[in-house]
Amino acid sequence: MSWAWFHRFGSPPYFYWVAGKIAPWFGWPSLVLLLIGLYGGLVLAPVDYFQSDAYRIIYVHVPASWLALLTYSTMAISAAIGLIWRIKIAHAVAVACAGVGAGFTIVSLATGMIWGKPTWGAWWAWDPRIVSQLFLLFFFAGYTGLRAAIDDTDRADRASAVLAIVGIVNVPIVRYSVDWWNSLHQAPSVMRADGPTISWSMLWPLLTMALAYTFYFGWIMLVRARAEVLRRDRGSNWVREALTNEAAGARS
């Protein structure tokens, strides 16, 4: 297997250019899918036999929760690649994941609390799923905090990468918490071995929203990573050339 593509992505000018080209291919589909998913979830999907209309919170809670895990995994794997192969772009991608991942986690926890009150009867419970999700937030915050405390970018990359790698252990704990321990939180409805336990009329808007969030993550990660790459290499020759090209492109 040739690793040429791998190293090409590690080149900042190439990454900056290619990320700018493909970002819209994530951004616009995300917007379209989001509108379809919202209409499907709020209007087309029927009420639930048990939770009535309260269950509709699932369409914003579950995609945010999935994306929190996806973002953390992407961040930790990028950080590990950056650490092992000393690729700066990988660290820039990890940085791009951290801020938005914390956002997904907060949305997941907040919408979960709002869902918990009318169904469980409590805003909060020290349930294994909720506590492990809270840990995920701490790892995101720890990553960002640790970087903020170290001035030198290379040293910040390495130290924060180790923290991100340690936190990856929490990802399967979040996923399997509801299987391993008695919990108030329900067991998975979609990602289960025996197939989804949610009617198709309610499932398709959920899958659409999850896909919309995934595309949104792709878009925002690329935009943030581009900003991070520019910030790191400001003053370098390739940045000067890239900006010149962009200015020429805007004029024509």
Partner: protein, 68 residues
């Protein structure tokens, strides 16, 4: 005319039913507001970060003397 008002009334009743979410409106709508607000806020923030990074890089280049 009477027909129009009847239809209007029906429509408003449907809308009211939709927005009430079987009485769960105080939970459903804030949850959606938080989720969509976060998506918009992070999108705006990402665009701003990229613009700021470009601006700063341009300043750095200008300081070196050659203008892009």
């Amino acid at each position: 005319m009477q027909e129009f008002w009847n239809q209007m009334h029906e429509f408003l009743k449907l809308m009211q039913e939709f927005f009430s979410m079987s009485g769960y409106a105080p939970f459903v709508w804030p949850a959606y507001a938080i989720a969509l607000g976060a998506l918009l806020w992070y999108a705006w923030q990402a665009r701003r970060q990229l613009d700021n990074a470009r601006e700063e890089a341009r300043r750095k280049v200008a300081m070196r003397g050659d203008n892009p």
